[in-house]
Symmetry: C2
């Protein structure tokens, strides 16, 4: 361990979230954006390990639900990309490779902005018969590229971490079951593992993925009250299979277009939520299972060499014992002061700290501190295992409770436009309002809402069970009969 | 399971390796090169799972040896790339991104041809003091880009699967220890797990990575007698730290340039070796632990419905039992004939096949067949576990033995140029010859050798223990005193 000059976060999260977020990313060594091409980010080891954990959780669920892994190239043919233009409209943001060395390429190619345009032309070669379906497949740990004008680590980048599944079915019914399965995966990974609460919305028709029949998204709230869309899953119907000619012979030996879904958990967006929602004024806070190091052992300063050695020996033994049990443990025996070390490892979000000094050693005691409450508990060293288990569990409960409290505290109801405007300016968060229509005929009201709330979006209705709207409720914008309860929020 | 019209391999591996290799890749659904931009490959699920296994093995070893994972962007600044031009000289092959949408970028950027040019400018910001070192870090599961003129799946591509570590040390001694560690990792992964034999060479000075002090490579032989370089590890000395200004304060508070190594196991090259070396006329052969499916259960055709159900039930139970034990199992209950199924799963390299029919069922027997020998062994169903363990072990032994036999059968000695030329034209393989010098002054002889053997390369001397050369031996080319035993081979 090395003596460092890392300084803590200098702003309060509640007072200046934007600056707090930037400082945590830099000071907890999650990412580096100082060097290289603008808008492209270096994932540093501490941040990369957290992100990799998200990938591992997802991969585990995708394997359990019998998706096959695959990997498509980065290069997309102009012809394939343009076929999708009407659907996805990524082309204004697409990067073009035009040269190799000093030579101009005969055929320029695009860097994939997402998978559809390159995967579906290949799918059109892979399947011929209904009995080759369902085909469920995913790509993981790759990146995609869009020329975003403004970039922000883990929220928006010119290159960002991606995960996507592209499934092909014989019937539309299977698409609908897949949407449920995707939701289930998000519950398991994002809610249970990452401890991020969210609403699962069905997007209004005017805000769905172009080319999809329906789009579903889990949206959470960041500490500045803005919505963070964590993923999206799309019922593509037969739209893409028609555009890319994915046909199969059905049971009656008739040719038909396949039915498709695609699903993209936003790896970066989930990272941003973990950083932003769980962290506090001292830095990062991480669920126990997600932390690159779960326990830091810190010797307390003392003068006598013999005692130093005793403490050192005990720390090493403790580290070995805990490592064997599967914990990820680090000893900080650098020359820094204990106080410095406490701050340092809190900044990095290490869940548990165990302090051992000569006084504790004499009594066979140790002090254990969990990152969330930062309360010191003196324990018997022989009870260390049990204490770790208990504190880890409490830490995860603290994290979940805090996240859920912030989330539920920031869901408000309104049926008055003036009131809504006030909330959107002051508190932000989600506001549940009566709304005329989530079909295309509601778009005008949504536009008005957006314009007059300085960017508030209609996120959609809750899925799978949309909330009921009273028989006499009126659309908050046009005053006509309300058919839906929709949620409004400002977005990243 | 579906009835397919997959046809087997139509050529003999020994007679037309090149065509055999292409057919295996296509027919065992390892990769698809039919659609998309030329020179870019789709990793299909079956192939991707095998490749991912190689990644997992490597990651496990890199974690054990305390390397940190990280991820750098795809984009490299022109300025950084050009700084390295003198060292690596990739620039003629580099792809350039010049446009986004219809707009020309203010600053074009390159797609990374390898990591050095983008990682080292960042390293120059990360380290200030010797006590921040050693820093050992790796990138995994990413791809790199070079505009190769001729491409071949898993051997040469415009985009190919990459793995690289970039380590920074305070002393040169640590670099040398790292070279040993890298070699150890290759032994564990490539030899022990993937069952690929290789020589570990120190490359001649004229053939090292530009900018490195020394380059070390494990080279194997493909079935056509050509050398396949599986990885390379480089002692970079202080050359790159000087070019990219990676300076640290040493113990005496003096500024000094850091010492570096980098290591790139060739994921694709290892895949090509697994496919090419282990496979036979019937298709793929895979080490037991690497196979996406390890065991295929095949019901033998029979007419009575009651018996069918009994067999089905037993197969399902067997699958569940084996899956619980951690095996990857598939039942092929498609409408195809047993013979078709045997061929199909042999083509895909599934290590063990278990056949159960009504006759066997009555006697509580099953037939087990391992992919290598294809001998049928009748076993008691109650001994299934033990039989699987035994057959899996035998399979791995068969694979290792076959690979090692081919390898050692194709290492020859020569001390006569005419003789060498004959071998290089007829047998290829490795030829061990006396050679004047592996320093730059030997390059002329190497050029002559290459020209007159139609492409034979001096691969280098064995590392870590170079073989002794007799006091009277003469260089096979110039006839001057030989100082080394070097190995000659034609290359991919």
């Amino acid at each position: 361990m090395t003596k460092t000059d890392n300084k803590g976060i200098t702003v309060k999260k509640a007072e200046n979230f934007s600056e707090w977020y930037s400082q945590v990313i830099q000071k907890a060594k999650l990412a580096d954006i100082r060097v290289g091409v603008q808008g492209f980010l270096v994932h540093r080891p501490w941040g990369f390990r957290i992100m990799r954990r998200v990938y591992e959780y997802l991969e585990e669920e995708f394997e359990k639900t019998e998706h096959e892994p695959m990997l498509f190239p980065i290069a997309v043919k102009e012809e394939s990309l343009m076929k999708e233009e009407e659907h996805a409209g990524f082309s204004p943001e697409v990067f073009w490779v035009t040269h190799a060395g000093t030579r101009k390429l005969e055929e320029r190619f695009a860097l994939r902005p997402t998978g559809e345009t390159q995967i579906y032309p290949v799918y059109s070669k892979w399947f011929r018969s209904y009995n080759e379906l369902p085909f469920k497949a995913y790509q993981s740990r790759h990146t995609v590229f869009r020329n975003e004008m403004t970039t922000r680590p883990f929220l928006r980048g010119r290159e960002f971490a991606f995960f996507e599944s592209h499934n092909v079915f014989s019937t539309h019914k299977e698409c609908l079951a897949q949407i449920d399965e995707d939701m289930d995966i998000l519950n398991k990974v994002v809610k249970d593992k990452c401890k991020i609460p969210f609403f699962y919305f069905q997007r209004p028709q005017w805000d769905k993925f172009k080319g999809a029949d329906n789009t579903f998204t889990p949206d959470t709230l960041m500490p500045d009250g803005k919505r963070n869309q964590l993923a999206s899953t799309h019922d593509l119907g037969q739209n893409f299979s028609k555009a890319y000619d994915i046909q199969i012979t059905d049971k009656k030996e008739k040719q038909q277009y396949a039915w498709q879904t695609c699903f993209g958990p936003g790896i970066w967006r989930i990272m941003a939520a973990i950083i932003g929602i769980h962290g506090d004024d001292n830095g990062l806070i991480l669920p126990f299972d997600m932390a690159p190091k779960q326990i830091v052992l810190i010797p307390i300063f003392f003068k006598e060499k013999a005692e130093q050695n005793k403490v050192s020996k005990l720390l090493n033994k403790t580290k070995n014992d805990l490592t064997k049990k599967g914990y990820r443990v680090i000893i900080d025996d650098s020359e820094n002061s204990p106080g410095f070390k406490f701050n340092h490892w809190e900044l990095f979000g290490v869940p548990l700290r165990i302090e051992i000094g000569p006084r504790e050693l004499k009594d066979n005691k140790a002090t254990i501190v969990r990152r969330t409450s930062r309360d010191k508990t003196v324990i018997n060293i022989k009870d260390l295992d049990k204490s770790i288990e208990k504190e880890a569990k409490k830490l995860d409960e603290d994290i979940t409770k805090n996240a859920e409290k912030y989330f539920s505290d920031n869901v408000r109801d309104s049926n008055d436009f003036k009131d809504l405007k006030k909330i959107m300016n002051k508190n932000r968060g989600f506001v549940r309002v009566p709304f005329c229509s989530v079909d295309f005929d509601g778009e005008d009201c949504a536009d008005t809402l957006k314009a007059e709330t300085n960017g508030g979006n209609v996120c959609g209705t809750l899925f799978p069970k949309a909330e009921k709207v009273g028989p006499k409720e009126k659309c908050i914008i046009c005053g006509k009969k309300a058919h839906h309860k929709v949620y409004v929020a400002k977005s990243y």
